[in-house]
């Protein structure tokens, strides 16, 4: 029998051909693999959220194997001695078992919790990037709305997860949630009774929150994330302005192989950071909080960081109770304003901001190029204002811990929060606005007069002047003014090649440092060598 030689090198090609013969995927796949993504570090922030969501799914599935989502009362008899013999719900007992008796259970629980905090943090950081660079403008308003919804759905996922262990902390949070629901006029009591199936806490809330936490909310998150990524794909990613980059093209790396490999690597990095956090930093030591009892409320009972702004707004709210003389009389408790009305306003403002800004600027064109924060001072100012507002509320949410550990009166903290909430955001707006204008001004100055060389020359009459290196050949008046285009202006001589390019490389230099020019008295006036234009499909170097 004649043995045919097996050609290993031909296997991938043959397989690919066989697949394409049957499914006709080569053309769409080619388009997909050749899709170009712009490359900038700030475009990777959203991926942190995506990857931590994947970690959340993985660790969450592990936890469901051991968690028992019922409020049936059991006597704990596991290996954590300080709670042995204590009556508690099966949910709490199984959470203790996950923490102490399931192999690898504690690190999985901690990774899940850290990944949840990271998911929300990455969403916020990504959202700030999108906001400050104007990436939400037409045609991407829909994706901005989906992204904002992702924050609020993530908020819901976090809150239901926080409530599941049924320890003292989560029960306290649930009690606050029930109070917030009750504060809604007219429908509050009905909604509360519907959610808790009667009076708080009832016997079913854990089971209901469980199905919301493992099915409904994650399902919604997956749907929203898919739509979010699909839209990024369809509408293409925004890019920074720069050489060769226009509103009508995308300059960057192909999806395959470099971009895909980078993303795969970044996923590993995110996974690793979450695993390190889960292994090194203890999060929510729920065994210390004990089972939830209505009469047990620990000091420093705070929600997770992304909910803390609501806690803070509640702490700052004056006790204004509104009595409405309708029928037997209605009372709107003060809790209603900071916990129902305020988040309602915030959701509305965040969802509709792109349309509000377009209307204000009368700008209805499509924008695929990003803006530097300094070039749109009013938006940057508004963002700074919003961040200040949120940070004050979040810090106030922890004001008892801050007051205790920094030896400040709690009352002083509350009043500082009240006054700060009104005064600091406008101040932040003003300061940011001025900083933006100042940065713009400095860019224009360099464009007009050139880069400061640091060389001081003494004139014959005794004056000292600094030598400037113009960015282009000066005209007969010695002026070399370049138009302001809203992009990075070189501010240092080595950016112009005077000192050779900066040494590149993260851990060690990957290229030899160039020789520096020897005569400091005469800065080089030759223009920088023209760089090769970067177009799509070319890797840049």
């Amino acid at each position: 029998m004649k043995r045919r030689k097996f050609d290993m090198a031909a296997v991938p090609g043959n397989t690919a051909r066989a697949v394409d013969d049957r499914f006709q995927v080569a053309t769409p796949l080619r388009r997909l693999l050749n899709k170009v993504f712009p490359d900038h570090w700030s475009f990777l922030l959203g991926e942190i959220a995506l990857f931590s969501f994947i970690v959340l799914l993985l660790t969450g599935v592990f936890l469901t194997f051991f968690f028992e989502p019922t409020m049936t009362e059991v006597i704990y008899n596991g290996s954590y001695a300080p709670l042995r013999g204590t009556p508690m719900s099966a949910a709490y007992a199984s959470t203790l078992d996950i923490s102490f008796d399931v192999r690898g259970g504690l690190i999985m629980r901690q990774m899940h919790h850290w990944a949840a905090l990271l998911f929300m943090a990455a969403i916020v950081v990504h959202m700030l990037r999108v906001f400050f660079t104007g990436a939400f403008r037409k045609p991407r308003e829909t994706n901005w709305i989906i992204g904002s919804l992702l924050f609020w759905v993530g908020f819901l996922a976090g809150f239901t997860g926080y409530s599941l262990p049924d320890d003292g902390l989560s029960g306290t949070g649930l009690r606050i949630a029930s109070a917030i629901i009750l504060s809604i006029p007219v429908i509050g009591t009905w909604v509360s009774a519907a959610v808790f199936n009667g009076e708080f806490p009832g016997t079913i809330i854990i089971s209901r929150f469980y199905i919301a936490h493992v099915l409904l909310v994650p399902g919604l998150l997956v749907a929203l994330i898919s739509a979010h990524l699909g839209l990024v794909f369809k509408q293409k990613h925004t890019q920074w302005p720069g050489p060769g980059r226009t509103n009508a093209n995308v300059v960057g790396e192909r999806m395959f192989p470099r971009y895909a490999i980078k993303q795969g690597g970044f996923f590993m990095v995110v996974f690793g950071v979450i695993a390190l956090l889960g292994g090194l930093f203890q999060i929510n030591p729920l065994w210390l909080f004990g089972p939830y009892e209505a009469w047990v409320v620990s000091a420093a009972s705070q929600p997770d960081w992304y909910v803390m702004f609501l806690d803070g707004s509640t702490r700052l709210m004056p006790d204004w109770e509104i009595h409405l003389p309708i029928g037997d009389g209605y009372v709107i408790p003060p809790l209603f304003w900071p916990t129902v009305v305020l988040p309602g306003i915030l959701v509305g403002l965040s969802l509709f901001y792109p349309f509000l800004e377009a209307r204000y600027l009368k700008d209805y064109r499509s924008h695929n190029l990003l803006q530097r924060p300094r070039d749109v001072p009013f938006r940057t100012g508004l963002g700074a204002m919003a961040v200040t507002f949120y940070v004050i509320l979040t810090l106030t949410g922890a004001n008892d811990v801050i007051a205790d550990k920094f030896h400040i009166s709690l009352n002083a903290m509350t009043w500082a929060g009240r006054i700060g909430l009104l005064l600091l955001p406008p101040l932040a707006y003003y300061v940011t606005y001025r900083i933006c204008l100042g940065l713009q001004q400095h860019d224009r100055e360099v464009l007009a007069h050139g880069v400061e060389t640091g060389i001081i020359r003494r004139m014959p009459d005794g004056r000292f002047v600094e030598v400037h290196q113009p960015l282009t050949t000066p005209d007969e008046h010695g002026h070399a003014e370049l138009p302001y285009v809203g992009w990075v202006v070189p501010k240092k001589m080595n950016r112009l090649g005077a000192l050779g390019p900066a040494v590149r490389g993260f851990f060690f230099p990957i290229e030899k440092p160039a020789e520096a020019p020897v005569s400091p008295g005469h800065p080089p006036v030759e223009p920088r060598p023209e760089r090769e234009e970067v177009g799509s499909g070319e890797t840049r170097r």
């Binding site: 942190i48 013999g85 902390l169 950071v273 203890q282 999060i283 705070q302 949410g397």
Partner: protein
């Protein structure tokens, strides 16, 4: 000699022994002695029981208490006043607060206070242990009050499960789930339990120092106090954290700080690194 005859007679007569016929002179002398004895008894009882100048001049202090009074008159009198009766607006009366209070306040360095403020802070102890005992004896002899039982180990036989439940119900509202303490209004606070010894925790429960309520033996029995102390010392302090570095056990607030300072910072650097490789 226990005859029926003997039993029928009165107690004094039996003590005196057999009855003897006494002369008239001796009877008179006996009456005079009885009168003098009765007067002395009455006067003595008056001296002991009646309030007045003579009682203040002659307090029945033990030697330790007298030494304590000497210390008191140098270090404490400026706020707590003469004879620890208190001064309005400066320091409360110490009559009836008991040795437990002195042991806690002076033994943790809170007293003498550095200045008048919302609450006295724990600081290096000023007095030596035997001086604290003398001060405690003085305050105890002024008007009684709670006393911490003897011995340094007051958690013996304590049940940490019961202690944990009692701790969460009675203590965690202010001292927090971790024993790390928490804020109260207007600059007052519940201090951290980390440096507290068994005796200090017991003394605090008995005497209710500063803003703490009193947990007397009627509210929390001595056995329950031992349970609570066992929980604080063994579970909160010695057991450590199975999950790694505890971030100060301040609850979710430091966890929020950590996710930004560690998680986001590390990953932003990672993204700078990855994006820089192009």
């Amino acid at each position: 000699m226990t005859s029926d005859n003997d039993r029928r007679r009165g107690l004094l007569a039996r003590l005196r022994g057999r009855p003897v016929a006494r002369s008239r002179g001796r009877r008179r002398l006996g009456a005079a002695v009885r009168l003098v004895a009765a007067l002395m008894l009455a006067g003595g009882a008056y001296t002991v029981l009646a309030p007045g100048a003579s009682a203040q001049e002659n307090p029945p202090l033990s030697s330790a208490a007298a030494d304590g009074k000497a210390l008191f008159d140098v270090s404490c009198v400026s706020c707590h006043g003469r004879n620890a009766q208190g001064i309005e607006g400066r320091g409360p009366s110490l009559i009836g607060v008991g040795a437990a209070s002195v042991e806690f306040q002076v033994g943790t360095g809170r007293m003498p206070m550095a200045r008048q403020e919302a609450q006295a802070a724990r600081k290096p102890v000023v007095f030596k242990p035997d001086q604290i005992d003398q001060l405690a004896a003085y305050v105890q002899e002024l008007g009684g009050g709670p006393v911490v039982p003897a011995g340094d180990n007051l958690q013996a036989g304590g049940n940490i499960a019961i202690g944990g439940e009692l701790y969460r119900i009675n203590c965690s509202q202010c001292h927090a789930f971790s024993g790390g303490g928490g804020a109260l209004s207007s600059g007052k606070y519940a201090p951290s339990l980390a440096p507290a010894t068994d005796r200090q925790i017991y003394a605090a429960m008995l005497s209710g120092p500063q803003n703490m309520p009193v947990f007397g033996d009627n509210q929390i029995t001595p056995e329950q106090k031992a349970d609570i102390i066992a929980y604080i010392q063994q579970t909160l302090k010695e057991q450590g954290d199975p999950g790694g570095f505890n971030l100060g056990r301040y609850g979710p607030s430091t966890e929020g700080v950590a996710i930004f300072l560690v998680g986001i910072v590390a990953l932003v650097f990672a993204s700078l690194w990855i994006a820089g490789k192009s």
